[in-house]
């Protein structure tokens, strides 16, 4: 049976991918600006040793995160990951912040390439959906669904 969750649309679009959960907020700068990220196949590999996603690759995944920590280089990272289709398929965030949204907005406005971002409580999704299970984000209607 399919499970649906209402969400506030932050950035429009529809996408699908395996869910990747964390209850720890993500610092996109710390995650993706390490020497290892120089390698083309590790562009989307998390290299933040303070985060449980350390060594996890986010390409094509639907990220389910409580919040983004920053820093202000988040836009540098997300702009390239999104416009080159190297990044996450969509982001579900407990509380959207300026830095997370900016990177995707830059790609959308200047390169016409975007991913949906929606805001909603992530605990109910984490309880009902397994890590790696395919999840759909509808940033136009404001719905997250799985199964």
């Amino acid at each position: 049976m399919s499970k649906t969750f209402p969400a506030k649309p932050i950035l429009k679009g529809k996408a699908q991918g395996p869910a990747l959960f964390t209850d720890r907020s993500v610092n996109f700068t710390a995650a993706f600006t390490k020497p290892e990220n120089l390698l083309w196949f590790k562009k989307a590999e998390v290299r933040d040793r303070h985060h449980p996603w350390f060594k996890e690759n986010v390409k094509g995944k639907v990220l389910v995160i409580p919040a983004a920590i920053g820093s202000t280089h988040t836009g540098l990272v997300l702009l390239d990951l999104v416009r080159m289709k190297n990044g996450p398929a969509a982001i579900i965030v407990g509380a959207a912040d300026p830095l997370l949204v900016s990177g995707v907005v830059l790609s959308e406005v200047w390169y016409d390439e975007s991913i949906p971002i929606v805001e909603c409580p992530i605990e109910p999704i984490a309880e009902a959906v397994k890590n790696g299970e395919v999840i759909t984000v509808d940033g136009d209607a404001g719905v997250v669904s799985a199964g």
Partner: protein, 389 residues
């Protein structure tokens, strides 16, 4: 969003397609947070000072604006240089296009102060000013210690603000988002502001922490905020009786705090690198954010008349470094073996090829958070590892 006739005209292309996209970026950014309008900013501060060779989009966009002859409309300062000449790998690989990038920024009309401590002398905000700033450590200082108002803005969005002189009105620009959420009590014997900031950052995200009274000085407020911002996305904090919007707890709490956290001496000591391993550090690093002259004097006095036994790096605000050069302390530090730099330690040290330098020890909570192999020590620890205590 409600745009003025002038703003709408720019969005429609009156100042060219590049300015239209810069305006559209601010509109889309603002709409995502239900902003109703764009408001004028007094200054901008840009975070994107490094030519990071693995990324291209940001530099392309900057190039489009420069090629179109676009200039900043408000005073605009910029973050530190990355240490282009610090190592061969920085010069040849990591930041090989640095010189070109700095030329581009100059063409845009950016003031080349090259410091993250921009609020110290280059771009001094006043109480109540609306700013379009990036660089998380500068944002948190401007909001908390100066009482100015800026959101935590992204790289490139900061340039869109600088060239339009505008920012979307939401978040920390409004009184209701400047109230405290979390009360922080300190139960410690010896202050270590970076460790306190690190613990606060790790305990909460995107909240406004309020610390009970402690007579922090300006340098401590800088380092405390920078570490909170790095580890926890904090854009504003208050200290009772110290920061301007917080004369008392009542001034910042309308209701009971959502949460109360007590930080103990044990918590602070737990951040420090294992004492047994500290001696294996390849070098000792100070200055993230960059050291002001006061900080150089305060830390530097421990080195006068001694000689370091481990490579020791100071990273200093460029204008303060020029002041330092006029003082006897400059030669005394050089004599002691301290290496004096004006670039960003994080950028400078990110690509370290020699295994000997795998671990460094630093008293900067922010650098500890960001740098792979960057271990934390309090001031006593790092002075001991440097061989001067």
């Amino acid at each position: 969003m409600d745009l003025t006739a002038d703003q709408q005209a720019i969005l429609n292309g009156s100042e060219g397609p590049e300015m239209a996209l810069a305006m559209k970026t601010l509109v889309r950014y603002g709409e995502s947070f239900d902003a109703q309008r764009l408001v004028p900013i007094k200054s901008a501060h840009l975070t994107g000072s490094f030519a990071i060779s693995t990324y291209t989009g940001y530099y392309e966009l900057l190039g489009k604006l420069v090629d179109a002859g676009v200039k900043v409309k408000v005073p605009t300062t910029i973050n530190p240089r990355p240490g282009y000449d610090f190592s061969m790998q920085n010069r040849l690989i990591a930041f090989r296009k640095q010189k070109h990038h700095e030329d581009q920024l100059a063409k845009l009309g950016v003031t080349g102060n090259y410091s993250c401590v921009t609020y110290h002398t280059a771009n001094v905000p006043e109480f109540g000013d609306i700013l379009g700033w990036a660089e998380s450590s500068a944002v948190v200082y401007a909001n908390s210690v100066a009482g100015a108002r800026t959101n935590r803005n992204s790289i490139m969005v900061d340039i869109c603000m600088a060239v339009t002189g505008l920012t979307p009105e939401f978040g920390l620009l409004f009184d209701e988002h400047r109230k405290g959420n979390v009360l922080i009590k300190l139960d410690i014997e010896e202050m270590d502001d970076d460790a306190v900031g690190f613990i606060i950052g790790q305990s909460l995200v995107d909240k406004v922490p309020v610390l009970t009274h402690y007579p922090f000085d300006k340098v401590q407020l800088k380092n405390l905020g920078a570490t909170m911002a790095a580890a926890g996305g904090v854009g504003l904090y208050h200290v009772v009786g110290v920061t301007p919007e917080c004369p008392s707890l009542d001034a910042v709490f309308d209701k009971e705090p959502e949460q109360t956290i007590t930080i103990t001496q044990k918590d602070i000591d737990a951040i420090r690198w294992d004492r047994q391993k500290q001696g294996t550090a390849g070098m000792v690093v100070f200055g993230c954010p960059q050291m002001t002259l006061d900080e150089v004097k305060d830390v530097g006095r421990h080195f006068v008349g001694k000689t370091v036994t481990k490579r020791t790096l100071f990273h200093i605000v460029p204008s303060d470094y020029e002041e330092l050069r006029k003082l006897p302390l400059h030669d005394q530090l050089v004599e002691a073996g301290v290496e004096l730099f004006t670039h960003c330690p994080l950028a400078g040290l990110t690509v370290r090829l020699t295994p000997k330098n795998r671990h460094v020890i630093t008293n900067s909570g922010k650098l500890h958070y960001y740098l792979e192999g960057g271990e934390y020590g309090n001031l006593d620890d790092v002075l001991r590892v440097a061989g001067v205590k």
